[in-house]
Symmetry: D2
Subunit: 347 residues, 4 copies
Amino acid sequence: MIRFNSDYLEGAHPRVLQRLLETNLEQTPGYGEDEYCARARRMLRELCEAPEADVHFLVGGTQTNFTFLSAVLKPWQGVISADTGHIAVHETGAVEATGHKVIALKNDDGKLDARAVSEYCRLHFSDESHEHMVMPGAVYVSNPTEVGTLYSRRELTELRETCDRWGLILFLDGARLGYGLASPENDIDLPFLASVCDAFYLGGTKQGLLFGEALVLCNGALKRDFRYMIKQKGGMLAKGRLLGVQFEEVLKDGLYMELSRHAIRLAMKLRDALSGMGIPFLVDSPTNQQFPILPDALLDRLGRDFSYATIEKVDDAHTAVRFCTSWATREADVDRLIEELDRLLKE
Amino acid sequence: MIRFNSDYLEGAHPRVLQRLLETNLEQTPGYGEDEYCARARRMLRELCEAPEADVHFLVGGTQTNFTFLSAVLKPWQGVISADTGHIAVHETGAVEATGHKVIALKNDDGKLDARAVSEYCRLHFSDESHEHMVMPGAVYVSNPTEVGTLYSRRELTELRETCDRWGLILFLDGARLGYGLASPENDIDLPFLASVCDAFYLGGTKQGLLFGEALVLCNGALKRDFRYMIKQKGGMLAKGRLLGVQFEEVLKDGLYMELSRHAIRLAMKLRDALSGMGIPFLVDSPTNQQFPILPDALLDRLGRDFSYATIEKVDDAHTAVRFCTSWATREADVDRLIEELDRLLKE
Amino acid sequence: MIRFNSDYLEGAHPRVLQRLLETNLEQTPGYGEDEYCARARRMLRELCEAPEADVHFLVGGTQTNFTFLSAVLKPWQGVISADTGHIAVHETGAVEATGHKVIALKNDDGKLDARAVSEYCRLHFSDESHEHMVMPGAVYVSNPTEVGTLYSRRELTELRETCDRWGLILFLDGARLGYGLASPENDIDLPFLASVCDAFYLGGTKQGLLFGEALVLCNGALKRDFRYMIKQKGGMLAKGRLLGVQFEEVLKDGLYMELSRHAIRLAMKLRDALSGMGIPFLVDSPTNQQFPILPDALLDRLGRDFSYATIEKVDDAHTAVRFCTSWATREADVDRLIEELDRLLKE
Amino acid sequence: MIRFNSDYLEGAHPRVLQRLLETNLEQTPGYGEDEYCARARRMLRELCEAPEADVHFLVGGTQTNFTFLSAVLKPWQGVISADTGHIAVHETGAVEATGHKVIALKNDDGKLDARAVSEYCRLHFSDESHEHMVMPGAVYVSNPTEVGTLYSRRELTELRETCDRWGLILFLDGARLGYGLASPENDIDLPFLASVCDAFYLGGTKQGLLFGEALVLCNGALKRDFRYMIKQKGGMLAKGRLLGVQFEEVLKDGLYMELSRHAIRLAMKLRDALSGMGIPFLVDSPTNQQFPILPDALLDRLGRDFSYATIEKVDDAHTAVRFCTSWATREADVDRLIEELDRLLKE
């Protein structure tokens, strides 16, 4: 069985694991107050050209999302998200469990449109009974989105302007940020994100680490006492250095982006091959998640040797599925998948 | 200014206030453990033909909704509501503030369709990642709905069957229940509600009392320790007898329904008159809230002497508004409103 | 049965009820946006000499406590309270239910000592693992306290200084504030409270109203969007004018303090009489709650005609109980209680 | 610098890391649904002689505590803990953040006495206003406790009986469980724990793993839907197999207990040596945490080469500190610490 159903199928890049091995028996202070975390923080601040930013390492994405959002929202505020947003769909109500509504607006290819956000806010604040409705307090976007699409520099700039106009915090979920930055369609970089977002995170779990997300707090007003929140929400790893060691290793000489480019190259190869076979896509994704629409009969047979994620029935005889590439994907496996699809289509 | 914008413009029916006056200086135990509450509970159980039901008196509707829902939902469950439901729109995220997602399904004339609920549950539980999504745990319906429509006996029976099938609690918000029961289109009664719902409440605030909602817990499994929850959520009135005195007065000889019929008679008079003038309605409401669509120019002039609630812009020149009647509405005022509308339309 | 067990046994002062009757059929806007509330707010601001303060009317004390505290505390902060504080003991964990720890410090005659607060904060912030402990964010005091004692001007000034030093919000629960202000031992007034507290409330429920508490937000930074919070927590009464009408009536010509003085005069009469009989007290209370320690055998017989609240067993044969006076207490009833106690003691 | 301040200073036992290395590039399903987790679960059930138990792997201890407690407590219930309990002191109010009060009872050498729990419950339920107080719903104990002491079989049996009597859930935090089981004073084992507790966990973070806690749900009524809760609270690791691989490795041939015995042998060596020098202890601990009371002057000098945790000032010139041993402690380092203390004491 060759698996393409997600981008967290393997452990960590060998260099990351090697580094954990080398440092394994060192004694360090706990809770992220060690030298490895300090260096990884410094590197990330430099990459972001944000010397004033605070960087925190958390274990997972859901945890990072609800820890940050519940820290910055007022009790009567909610967070605006695309209705396809991870917090709106796939986190078991983690944000609501901290007391805040996820205000789901209709997505546009997985993205949130600045005008839709602005219109929502205008309607909210002009309503006589606005105090009877959840006040919008933040905007959550994922980049790449859950369907693999990317925000452009212009789109994020417009969201920033909208947030400024309505007093909203802009938060970007970068669980797959590297795969976004490595895409041929990408036009943003870390310094831009650090300037446009109040906070964002650089994913590790899906990007070559065993686990870990690096949260960058750019807005100075949000920094204070944040470690209390991480501890309360269960995100403060006792052996915090495990996060520092891993991030240091992938950041120190460009490994993070190198692995990202690898995944993107294979994803584009897969996309182009499938397009060439005339296979349609649910959405046009320039990143490591591809969503082809395939005949159900074909999928039954494909499933004997290849795993994929089922997304949705498109019609009576077709289903949209997801294939992911990652830092760990072998080109030979992509080639075999392409061959098999080609073969099955021709039968 | 004659006000039609809501059904809580006045205080209480004079008989209710008179009864508060007569009992004012009596000394009673607090927190609802007095004889007035005991009698009102008994009356309501009899009206519901539900001798085993528990009855609790709370101060307001939002409070009743979030107190009940947060008491019965598991931490990982949410409540399904029409997207027009009061808890989904107009309670400042009170349910989410207790940690639970409001799962908003598209409304059908303000109502929740049993098939839509069932399909949602089917999709949820058949999804491989259902543990990553909020589990549906309860269904919230309002009757009359927020747009004045009514559930039929058949519709509620279907919802009950759906709830049984998927393990959901069925909760009915009856903030305006009397106005529903008094409608010419109504085909349900209190004993039916007590048999079909796990819990529901009979509104007082909009139905002739100063304030107060009577929550009927029909499902025995939900009764235990509920008073702890009322206290914790701020709904346990120190002078609980104020609620008992008021409900006893309106329940003891049919005053509650008499007042409800009064409001409905005037609402139907208004509806018929407006229909006769060719005015369209946003929704066809058989209860005390009427939603005509009127020309903006007319509304400007109408607003000098009559208040109404603005609902939504329908097109560039028309707006849907709400007129409410209530136990306190004077027929002469309805007549004046009709005359004025007629006059303004003819100008 | 003559009841002395609490100070919320009766309804409202007749003038208050009369005023509700007079205004009953007026039509007003809801949710506290009416003229009665506006006038009552103005009066209270004037009495407090705090023209900039915001005043909100809520239904009950528990509700006011958790609504305010959960609005102002950061998610990782708790509130310091005496271990006898109402929020620490008798609100079914309402504050914790909003996510915040009540940090209970040992009381000193029901009061919180500024030095104990300061020492707690000093220890917290000097601890290496302070991020692993709940950060103190506010101080909650009741005046009069739950055992009837009073804070002096000096004590509150010291608490203010302590709060300033450690960045804490000072919140005063005045559910029985009138009974405190009317005490012969009192040395504070409303303008002082408005200057020393970030927020406090003037109780209505126990002080001559049917129900209602008037929250005064003195600290400008805490005012913003507070009405959202009241709505979310179920404290925004649809017919908000009921609160305005009642507070206006008791505030407009000194009725509030007149009723308070009445209760205190009778409480002092009772206290002096019991002291004269050699009865000891659990605590020396200068307000409307008195806590004599009585022989159990006597209490059995007293209980046939008089109700009291049981506080705690003091030894095998004695129990501390509570007698409350209030605006509604009749002097003849106090005289009868004194006579009966005298008679039973001499048997 | 040789560190003795905690038992999570190093990474993982080399065999654990080696196993992560060997399995690193395998592709497995995520979220704990892989074969490694399945095998580790099976092993733990066998070790517990509890074939019906559910086993879940979470990342950290604070996370495990609040995830379990918030899943099983009713909204109006709190959890009873010793006032030294980790949840009461060192988790930044994580349990309160989920809405539940931690009811802190006075500890007895770090332990909770069954009689104290029973008396608290008796007082609660016999109080007239028990509905105004948080209902006790669970009992939390740590074994070993935060001060290194152990519950005996008799003590846990008494707690179980008390919990049965008052309807409480018994939960045991075993973050250092191996160090308890390996103690010469221990008289319990895993099958006993599985029979006496509703749930408990076997710690990994402090016991030779990189991270991870194995929660054993023994009470069948608590199993349902628990994975939803783990996901919502951020504890469901994407690459869940990392937990399975680690636990399998330490459980498969007794490594877990072997490492525990190592730590205990060195702790006892240290304890005996210090006792022999006449050094008093804050508490008599038979496990891997030792709390000697040392002269402040000595500590200043000791601190140049050895790290320790400061616990509390005992008098003007002495401080209680903590030395921890662990699976990773080298005997030579313990010997050097003993020598240095001996030398400094003789100066």
